[in-house]
């Protein structure tokens, strides 16, 4: 029996989003969507978090930050890419400063489509991520080695 499913704490980082998905992630925490019903708390602190929610595409300066945040999170952890920019780079894919989706830097577990992703879609995505989190927790419990920290190729 794992408690990860009942108490997932998330950390939100705006990689280079237009704020649209950002404010929808925040809206999930507020009365109308209230994800605290599932025990989800926005910790704002990588050391407390289980789920890394990233909005927006990755560019050169944020890449380091994302890696830093991800590596500071203790295991087990999952990554949810919210919005099309976080998934593929979206409409900004072609610009000179965008490297692409979050998966160019980190292993992404769940992609949430939408521009901007709706709070309902984000809730669905996080709920889906919980299953993955639990599998990872079970693997760790069974004695699997901790996955190595993700290194950025400079």
């Amino acid at each position: 029996m794992s408690f990860f499913k009942k108490s997932p704490w998330l950390l939100h980082y705006d990689a280079s989003s237009c704020n649209g998905c950002d404010i929808e992630v925040l809206a999930c925490l507020t009365p109308v969507y209230d994800v605290e019903r599932f025990g989800i708390v926005n910790t704002g602190n990588p050391k407390h978090a289980d789920i890394l929610v990233i909005t927006g595409s990755v560019n050169e300066p944020t890449r380091e930050v994302i890696l830093n945040l991800y590596n500071q999170m203790p295991h087990p952890k999952v990554v949810v890419a919210v919005g099309v920019c976080a998934a593929t780079g979206g409409i900004f894919r072609d610009t000179y400063n965008v490297l692409g989706g979050v998966d160019t830097v980190l292993p992404v577990d769940v992609y949430v489509p939408g521009c901007a992703a709706r709070p309902e879609a984000i809730i669905d995505g996080v709920v889906k991520a919980l299953g993955i989190l639990e599998t990872k927790a079970a693997a760790l419990k069974a004695g699997a080695a901790e996955p190595a920290a993700v290194e950025g190729s400079k």
Binding site: F3, K6, P74
Partner: protein
């Protein structure tokens, strides 16, 4: 300490985290409802802590976790002591020691956020500690037996019902029996065997309960005058409870301590880390120092900090109970719940203030409400 009290202390050690977790669960649901949302399940705090135990931790310095163990041990120790009816002063200092360890733990990783959190926690201690001590003194003056008048010249007052020694809080029927021998016998509750059985109900009521001994009062059969000195000056929780209940102080206890009680409510907001004063760390990490004190802790250590807070909260609620201890237990319980509700309401109706404001406000409250109440007890309520 007799076995009954020892047992309650041990039970409290086990029960406090459970109750504290439930209290936190209620707190989160109520807070959510006040904010117009549904909120988490009642057992959410337990889920959180169990999850944290499963999670891997990251620690920056080796001492970090050791300090937290000390924090939890001291807090639990303080809680145990309190519910074992032991010395209130010791409880307060053990609690403070726990707090100091938490601060040390937060200092040790050397991260800027947790350092600022630790500094703020120290400022918070600076703000609430005087009032906490005044509260202890107030309780002591009113119900901690008494700083009796010198045996040679007891002041005598006609309460209308019977002649009572003034130093005894009004309505303290225990002392009625003693009034026969007012000049020579102490103001301490007189064991049944020593008393002229003029007021048999009271005497029996007192003698029948084992609380005289539990409270460390002169054992039945010993001449009261001999042990008077140690019985008189006593900070024990058991004594306070005994005097308040057996003495039937009722509302008068709260009335006599009204200033101190209000002041205590004020600092309770700091201690419970509620909104106007949740400077060093708060339940939600939306603030300038992220999570302040707890920023650098993770996994098991964070879970232990949470458990430590549960202990602390139950201890504080027990402290609040002391103010109501003269009342019927059901009334007292309802009042304690009301106090907690009030704290949640205040949490949800105020912004976080700055530390300067906090220290200033806490000290003004301490001076105005606490000290004046104390002076009143010293000079007018002897």
């Amino acid at each position: 300490m007799n076995t009954t009290w020892l047992l309650t202390g041990l039970i409290a050690l086990v029960a406090a985290p459970v109750l504290g977790g439930l209290l936190a669960g209620f707190d989160r649901i109520l807070t959510a409802r006040m904010q117009g949302r549904v909120g988490p399940p009642l057992f959410q705090p337990f889920y959180d802590v169990f999850k944290l135990f499963e999670k891997r931790g990251v620690s920056v310095s080796h001492f970090q976790n050791f300090y937290i163990v000390c924090f939890v041990l001291f807090t639990a120790f303080a809680t145990g002591l309190f519910f074992a009816g032991q010395d209130l002063l010791l409880v307060v200092f053990a609690l403070t020691a726990g707090g100091v360890f938490l601060v040390l733990g937060a200092f040790s990783p050397n991260s800027p956020y947790s350092t600022i959190g630790a500094e703020r926690e120290l400022l918070q201690m600076l703000a609430y500690e005087p009032m906490l001590l005044i509260a202890v003194m107030g309780l002591y003056l009113v119900a901690g037996t008494a700083i009796g008048p010198t045996p040679a010249a007891p002041a005598v007052l006609d309460t209308g019902k019977a002649t009572t020694i003034l130093a005894c809080p009004p309505g303290d029927t225990n002392r009625l029996s003693a009034s026969n021998q007012a000049a020579s016998v102490s103001s301490a509750p007189v064991p049944a065997s020593n008393t002229v059985a003029s007021n048999s109900t009271v005497a029996a009521g007192c003698g029948a309960t084992p609380c005289c001994q539990e409270a460390g009062l002169p054992a039945c059969g010993t001449p009261a005058s001999k042990t008077r000195a140690q019985a008189d000056r006593n900070f024990k929780v058991a004594t306070i409870l005994h005097n308040a209940r057996q003495g039937g102080m009722g509302w008068r206890m709260l009335l006599n301590l009204s200033g101190i009680f209000l002041g205590f409510l004020f600092i309770l907001t700091i201690k419970l880390r509620k909104s106007p004063f949740d400077l060093s760390t708060s339940h939600h990490g939306h603030q300038e120092v992220v999570k302040g004190l707890t920023t650098e802790f993770s996994g098991k250590t964070l879970a232990w900090i949470e458990i430590g807070h549960w202990y602390e909260n139950i201890l504080l609620m027990g402290f609040v109970w002391l103010f109501f201890s003269g009342l019927h237990p059901a009334v007292a319980a309802a009042l304690v719940a009301a106090v907690y509700f009030l704290e949640i309401l205040v949490d949800n109706a105020s912004a976080r203030l700055k530390w300067q404001t906090m220290v200033k406000a806490a000290w003004i409250v301490t001076l105005v409400l606490g000290v004046s109440n104390l002076l009143f007890l010293f000079y007018f309520n002897r």
